[in-house]
Point group: C2
Chain length 148, copies 2
DNA sequence: TTTTATCCTACAAAACAGATAGGAAAAGTA
DNA sequence: TACTTTTCCTATCTGTTTTGTAGGATAAAA
């Protein structure tokens, strides 16, 4: 049970954009360098973030990618669902048809409960929270990093 | 982010043993049939449960596999760790050496927090809870099943 | 002694993760 | 305009993990 790298990189990409709130957008190249993510791999991450409506490329002066919402309005849950078709620990959680015992299965209920706990955790925390915490960490110790 | 089938089957195997508390042990064949798990695949599940000390094979009259502890003393967490080397959503959570930014990484803290939430959920629920709930479900609606 | 059950190791198909590669299209720049 | 850079799209590759199956040795039960 691991979180995939796309989700993790996606979060870091949004954090990068959220921090760099200088008015100008940010280019893929700079995100890749700052976050130490392969430039080409980032292609996929960005495509996904874009099609999920979390970021948008702007052109003209100050071109680059930008967040479509304020960091404090982007729940980590939104990023997660952008990279994972469903947040379902088991397929049968969201698809009752898969098992005729769906309605009277204590195990399914158990996993469903865990699923909810995870979902709530992800919904309760935003990209804004993350960059705030990152700033706090950095002012404590210096250095700049929120790499995983 | 899925739970693997071995963990799920492992839980169901323990539930099966916990229910069948007739004094006699239970044979692999019967577990396989009752839980609709491939007999041969169950080999691996059982081996793992055994080496984790959760079940033990007994011989003589009333032979078969038995739980080594009471159902209410087996946390689902114990089963989970039997089938997953660590409960770590990310490798860097348990291995600070993997990333020099470990101590000042808001993202890592975030995942760490989620990890704890999951861990607590798994530790707070036992096989005993699951079979109690299953009994309740079955007495409500009849039928017997806790398959995933 | 025959049958059945446990135990152990090897193998294999399929799915998935984590990337890399190439180039078309669009945008920026001189 | 010409050229350079950046974005965007699709295909491919490689390794690992998952989900099993297979075969047989060993031990136990009938």
């Amino acid at each position: 049970m691991k979180v995939n790298t796309k989700t993790r990189y996606g979060i870091r990409t949004l954090m990068e954009l959220a921090r760099n709130d200088s008015g100008a957008g940010m280019h893929q190249k700079d995100i890749a360098v700052n976050q130490d993510i392969s430039y080409k791999y980032l292609d996929h991450i960005i495509a996904q973030l874009k099609s999920s409506g979390l970021i948008v490329p702007v052109s003209g002066r100050k071109s680059g990618y930008r967040l479509t919402r304020k960091p404090e309005e982007i729940a980590v849950y939104d990023v997660f669902t952008a990279f994972n078709s469903t947040l379902a620990l088991l397929d049968c959680l969201f698809d009752g048809e898969l098992c005729e015992k769906h309605e009277r299965c204590a195990a399914r209920e158990f996993w469903d409960g865990l699923n909810s706990v995870i979902e709530n955790y992800l919904k309760d925390r935003t990209i804004g929270d993350l960059i705030d915490r990152q700033s706090a960490l950095e002012s404590q110790q210096g250095g700049l990093a929120y790499q995983i």
